[in-house]
Amino acid sequence: MPKRLDLDSVLVIGSGPIIIGQACEFDYSGTQACRVLKAEGIRVILVNSNPATIMTDPEFADATYIEPITVEFVEKVIAKERPSALLPTLGGQTALNVAMQLHEQGVLERYGVELIGADVDAIKRGENREQFREIVSMIGAESARSRVCHTMDEVLLAAEELGYPLVVRPSFTMGGSGSGFAHNEAELRDIATAGLLASPTTEVLIEESIFGWKEYELELMRDKHDNVVIVCSIENFDPMGVHTGDSITVAPAMTLTDREFQHMRDVGIEIIRKVGVDTGGCNIQFAVNPLDGRMIVIEMNPRVSRSSALASKATGFPIAKIAAKLAIGYTLDEIPNDITKKTPASFEPTLDYVVVKIPRFAFEKFPGANPKLTTHMKSVGEAMAIGRNFTEALQKALRSIEKKGSEFSFGDCEDDVAELLHETSYGHENRINAVQQALWCGASIEEVHEFSKIDRWFLAQIHLVNQVAKSLIDIEQLNAETLKRAKRMGFSDAQIAALRGLTLKEVRDLRHSFGIRPVYKTVDTCAAEFEAFTPYMYSSYDEENEVTPRSREAVFILGSGPNRIGQGIEFDYSCVHASLTLRELGYDTIMINCNPETVSTDYDTSSRLYFEPLTLEDVLEVIHVEAANGPIAGVICQLGGQTPLGLAKQLQDEGINILGTSPESIHRAEERGEFGAILESNDLVSPPFGVASSFEEARRHASVIGYPVLVRPSYVLGGRGMAIVYDEDSLAHYLKTATEIEPNHPVLIDRFLDDAIEIDVDALFDGKELFLAGVMEHIEEAGIHSGDSACTLPPITLSPNDIERIQDATSKIAQSVNVRGLINIQFALSADVLYVLEANPRASRTVPFVSKATNVPLAKAAARIAVGESIQDLRNRGILPLHDALTSTATEVIAVKEAVLPFSKFQGVDTVLGPEMKSTGEVMGINHSFGAAFLKAQLAANSKGLPRKGKAFVSVADRDKRSMIFPIKRLHDLGFEILATKGTADVLRRNGVKVVEVRKHSEGTGAFGETTIVEQIMNQEIDLIINTPHGRGAREDGYAIRTAASLRSIPSISTVQGLAATVQALEALLTAELSVQSLQEYAAQLAQTGH
């Protein structure tokens, strides 16, 4: 039965900002959906607040709304666009939840919008843990014993019945928000309180713990004819108890017999039928008791999920794309398999390789966070690798993680085996390394199994790796046989070099002299049964190479690897754009990346895709094999963030042509000394600084420069380890605790610019001409990492003169660094002096934001410059506008970017912002006034939005007292009741603001039971919090307040600039009706105003 003809337009909802548990896999799925629907001639209307996504590029939908994903705003879009249907299953939990609310509030009915892809009852049956359990038992399968609870009393009663340990799991959440293990009543109370709060239906499941069982996932698809296929089975390396998002996972399942697998498949199919997901995909999780095979169904997600993105990349079966086709009426057998072309999608992919996914964490950014892995997801990204056996895939994945120490190492056994065994007994970031070390240092497979419950099969594989490592150490002369064996098990040249005391280059040369090189195999869904037409490749040390000759010139694009804080989807955005535009220009584009969540690793994006780690070795081998198969123009390193940028020089040293900015220029911008010289020769200034190799030296520099100073280890990324230090004692403390200061690891000491306005600039330079793409004024002052700060484009307080200076400085720096393509510069304006903080000769995090705010395809332009086009060419061809981008407020459109922070996932971590980046994602608000744009950004960033009335609590540092008076007064006028701690209250009262004084946390509860501010926050009596960190002292109070606010998700403002902007936003909220407009409409307006 072919496509439905009654659907003229479909509303697609994205997943909003990148957060832990919901990352760019939904950009991948949403982009696929938009493409499918458009290709079918359906008008696509898209709502997503995340500007860093590919899907929100104007060309992917007919009407793109970068608006908050809330009922209020989606309703506005519906009212305006009147879509015939809403597709809610591709935008993660966010889209599903908002679709459910739209249904419950009657919006869908009111506007006659049909829900496609899943119906309301099916979503409820799948997501509501109680209804789901009934279904499981109806089909004769088993769930863990549990009780559904809505109050703490019910929770405690359930605990009595079930006994400890227990698992708490809230309904309608994802990424395990609000869940956890409780071993006693105190823990239970804690976790269940958070859980009840996290669930939109105030519902949690209290469940028997099946910690240590084997964990599996199945990805299923079903069409309206009731055809069901299992796309992929996934086995978790980490047993039950560690969230699948935080587990190392393997596809296909490795330790099930056919009988067991088919039983799981049968139960899965029965579940998808009974739940009633009738067009689309779902994910079902299972636990299996390793002792007797007893199988328990854990949960299902009646939508495309993180695992489905992984399954799509692991199998070559594009789940989201097919889900979109099923939603508009096709059946599986009517959809061709893209890869084989001849066979249909109504089959089950079969793999002749092994896929391993490893999560990447960011605990180093959140000191104080509990790094133990539990049922609550904590990872910020993941890498995937493919190999022809498990060890090859595993070791490739470990090096794809790009973290020091992530690869297995084989040094002396200094640690106690007992200690190592203990380290294997619970989930944490380096558990797999502990497993390998324990085995390396003499523990038996049995012992490690006993402690870790990790399946013996996996342990035996790691044991094999150790054995090969041992042979590499023991063998007198490294011969071809041993080397080949090691390569077949995934050892990197670097590991071998370390084992043999050789250099990387020596190992590589030796390997090549033996003729040992990887071959490249195709991911083809069918284990080679049919010919594959899509070059989706991975390396393996096997016999036959499948790379085919090319005739067009090729451009390599190096991706950005696993998402991490500071390097995420924004960089994938730029890589994808480059690929699309260069293909248009007639190049073959070759993408190398290892992040399964992204659009760049969709086999549709580039001419060829190599799913490989981004290390020098792996990249060189891909280039080698491609060079043997066709002409090569060069490699683009400037789009994927710091990862490929760091490879540029080494690739050039191997004789490879780097397109765009040269490694020499990169060095000029990144090396402090050279960059300092550039600034000096252009009469530009940077904050005074010094480099210190000892505490004495640091002290001397600091006293010359003057406190406060910003200290950091040299060569850091994303502000790692940076701190603002106010006096000598704190300096000593920092040097003692935060970094090892020694001659090889010097520390940089900068004058910290107090009260400076920070400005971000993105520009293009072609060697002659500069295109100033965007000048963004940060809302928060310098000192808060640019990635965490809100910003506005165009700037709202800078004068034309300021902007001219910025433009001039940008031009000079771009020229002197000699950039070819994108450059990003951060400035700080303090006491009318324009300081240059840093220059990044690459695509920046803000490229997608600027592109969307100004409707200029920056990344595309950068890719074209890299292959030789000039800015003049681009202007002539209409790719760049004739005049530079928005620089003044004269234009109509204002876009505000706001960062989204992961504090709710890391309980107890101080939420105060600083020079070290902590945000995982961003949203954009766009409108015709700053207040409205800022408001939209806030509504999009914070699920609770901003309060319209209620109690506002204020407590600010002395230096902020003066500047908060006016905005607080205004807040009061807008109808808020103002509460403040003593000092702040005094100032406000003196300035005629009516204010109620509250007790500080440190003062404790009063004699008559007066509650402290922290207690009031915990009791949810406060609606808005304004708390700026006090430079010194009283820190504890601030910490307690911010933590409580984060626990209760109460909007909390930590800078006076943020306060001022919020007050403007509240004015907009209370006085004007907010309208929605699509990017396409804004673009038309921008064109009209002559831009």
């Binding site: 330790t255 017999t257 056919d258 007797d292 109504s346 056996n389 080679a528 049964e529 096997d542």
Partner: protein, 371 residues
């Protein structure tokens, strides 16, 4: 273990590690794409005289156990895998794959590029091959190739007698006995009688040599012809038996080889596929309901019949009931004027999905209608 060679009749050679039994074996090389179920594959009589190449890289992870056996022995002539598991990990495992291959003297090879081999077979078609391990691997390649070239081809081979039971045996019905079925064993898998018996059917399994007279002497409500190895064109006796059953209007069900035999009994031709269907992920469409089932396949031959029209045969009208969506190969036949049908794939699964178990119910239905 020692070096081993996998040698093809066209001269292509792959070097790997020997495992299982050391020595020499020859057979028709075929590839199997299932990711689970190697034990069922090994013990499936249809693989008799074939060297099976597993495309899934890790084989042996769950060891071997007694319950998952599809017959009393391993039938494959040789076994080719990328990685043989160093340990066994499953609560039902009784021994390792390697031990079992040694015990049953199955010459096997690992550490070869199974994907390259699969592509070779896909492009050139199933062909004869040999595994030479230990001493034998040191002979000159040309000699080994010659040895392979001197073996028999599958086309024209009658293997039923080699795999069939010698003695009749009965598998009682589970619960109340509703019907009795005679199952002609041309290489039957144990899951088939098990699924029949679960439906209240008593199954009497008979040898391939059963004559029409012996057939007439048996009491039965239905007649079943199993899967099995070899070229259907040679199964003259079985074809005769099926014609005999059709003329008596005895309810008939055939699987795999049984489908080819029904096809020939009805007057259709059979032919050898280039590289066959062997896997557990094959999409088959039921042409009546238009539903797709994911099915288990193991066939190198197929029936030639028109897909979308009704054929007139000596036994009345016949239609193709099922088709493989990958390549439009006939996957099932249904007589419209006789109580008879058959499928080319494996509704008994083992290994494979259970999507097609309904066909056993359909057989039950036929017998009920006939009763």
């Amino acid at each position: 273990m020692a070096k081993a060679l996998l040698v093809f009749e066209d001269g292509r050679v792959f070097e790997g590690q020997g495992f299982g039994y050391e020595g020499v074996t020859t057979g028709e090389a075929v590839f199997q794409t299932g990711m689970s179920g190697y034990q069922e594959t090994l013990t499936d009589p249809s693989y008799h005289r074939q060297i099976v190449v597993m495309t899934a890289p890790h084989i042996g992870n769950t060891g071997m156990n007694t319950t998952d056996e599809e017959s009393h022995q391993i039938w494959v002539a040789g076994f080719v895998v990328r990685e043989n598991s160093p340990v066994v990990s499953n609560w039902r495992a009784e021994r390792s794959l390697d031990e079992e291959l040694q015990r049953q003297e199955i010459v096997s090879i690992s550490e070869v590029d199974t994907r390259a081999i699969t592509r070779h077979l896909r492009d050139k078609g199933a062909m004869r091959a040999g595994i030479f391990s230990g001493e034998a691997a040191n002979e000159p390649i040309a000699k080994l190739v010659e040895r392979v070239q001197n073996t028999e081809t599958m086309q024209g081979l009658d293997l039923s007698d080699e795999v069939s039971t010698r003695e009749r045996y009965v598998i009682p019905a589970v619960g109340v006995k509703r019907f009795k079925v005679v199952a002609l064993d041309l290489g039957i898998k144990s899951m088939t009688p098990e699924l029949l018996s679960q439906r209240g059917i008593e199954v009497e399994v008979v040898p391939s040599t059963l004559s029409p007279t012996e057939f007439d002497a048996l009491e039965m409500d239905g007649f079943f012809v199993s899967n099995g190895p070899g070229d259907p064109a040679t199964a003259v006796q079985a074809i005769e038996l099926v014609r005999h059953a059709l003329s008596q209007r005895i309810p008939f069900f055939g699987i795999c080889f049984g489908n080819q035999i029904l096809g020939r009994a009805l007057g259709f031709e059979t032919y050898k596929l280039k590289f066959g269907h062997r896997g557990i992920n094959q999409p088959v469409k039921d042409l009546q309901t238009n539903k797709v089932e994911i099915t288990s396949h193991n066939h190198g031959f197929a029936v030639q019949a028109p897909l979308h029209e009704i054929s007139e045969t000596q036994f009345g009208r016949v239609r193709v009931s099922h088709v493989c969506l990958n390549d439009d190969v006939v996957e099932g036949l249904e007589c419209l004027d006789r109580p008879a049908f058959s499928v080319q794939y494996h509704p008994e699964a083992a290994a494979g999905p259970h999507d097609s178990a309904y066909l056993f119910d359909r057989f039950l239905q036929l017998m009920e209608n006939n009763a």
